[in-house]
């Protein structure tokens, strides 16, 4: 039996079921109560020593884009939270990816399943891409100004209501050193290729 405070969440003989729900609760609690890191609802991969951060609402297509980036060789960091420190660097939060494609509904896969590895070190951010899936859309993102970039990051920050100053301070470090873009995308692989090339171009 699994409780959250006085509320019974689950009663089952299935140990895996209990552990899955417990993990989901623990992850949310850590994201909400963290004091020294800012948790942004986002997918994250590493490429050529830079992080690509993909903030988005649930079902905006983050996991599909993360999976496409991993298939192209990027290192896995997270498909749930970008964990950002006071210097604006991103740390790994590598839980298994939860794919939601019709053919793979609910299937959890690891970076290894997709032929790549999981990042271990914190990375500076190269690109933040707010990419929303829309069938048939072409990926032609617009670059956001620093103020709009911080605003869009705040819109996906878990503890923003409790610690807004901490979140804004972290984003003040991150945004000036990164390219922040926003747009709608169609096929994940097209946007993924664009993002990897953009990181390489910025590195010069």
């Amino acid at each position: 039996v699994l409780y959250a405070g006085a509320r019974q969440l689950l009663r089952t003989h299935d140990r895996d079921e209990v552990l899955r729900l417990l993990r989901s609760h623990l992850e949310q609690a850590v994201a909400e109560l963290a004091r020294t890191r800012v948790f942004v609802h986002a997918g994250v991969v590493g490429w050529k020593g830079r992080a690509i951060v993909l903030p988005g609402s649930s079902h905006a297509g983050k996991s599909s884009l993360v999976a496409a980036l991993l298939r192209l060789g990027a290192e896995y960091y997270s498909d749930e939270y970008a964990v950002i420190d006071a210097r604006g660097r991103v740390h790994p939060f590598p839980r298994p990816l939860l794919l939601r494609d019709e053919s793979e509904l609910g299937r959890a896969v690891t970076a290894g399943d997709l032929g790549t590895s999981t990042g271990r070190r914190s990375l500076p951010v190269g690109i933040v891409a707010l990419a929303r899936y829309e069938a048939g859309a072409a990926w032609r993102p617009q670059t956001l100004t620093p103020g709009r970039a911080v605003l869009d990051l705040l819109a996906h920050t878990v503890m923003v209501r409790r610690q807004p100053e901490q979140a804004v301070s972290a984003f003040e470090q991150l945004v000036p050193r990164s390219l922040v873009v926003k747009g709608t995308r169609g096929e994940a692989v097209d946007a993924a290729r664009w993002l990897l090339e953009a990181v390489e171009e910025r590195r010069g």
Partner: protein, 163 residues
Amino acid sequence: MNPRARVQGLVVRRLKDETLVYDLKRHRAHCLGLVTAEVWQACDGARTVAEIAAAVEAATGHVLGEDGVGLALLRLERARLLEGPRLPLPTSPARRAALRLLAVGSGIAVASIVAPTPAQAASCTPSGQCVVMPNTLCTGLPCCENVALHCTKKANGSNCSCN
């Protein structure tokens, strides 16, 4: 009464030409463009609208005029960034249309968001998707339509459900 900028309960940061404002009371964040931010800063309760227009022109080189300042004040008021009694809204459709036209060319802008709750900034499973998952793949995530429920195994069922 001359307009006065609200100062209490706000986190304010300057980011190049923009100003970011987080409202600690309403949990809304706003991004003010350069001109709007200058209008806001000039609202000290002593300056008239004409004097604010002059102050903004001196600071930025933008000639707003009283109409432009009036429009910026309406935007700032809508974002609850001014103190005191509400400003009178333009009543005639022609006047409102003129102000909208002015807004397009003048860069008078306030972009706003509502800060998410922790549950809003987390993954969830739509109940329609949850109930078609085989019960070996239940996500354990909150259900999007009611985050107090989670997508878990349904007793004696072959599929998951929001419980």
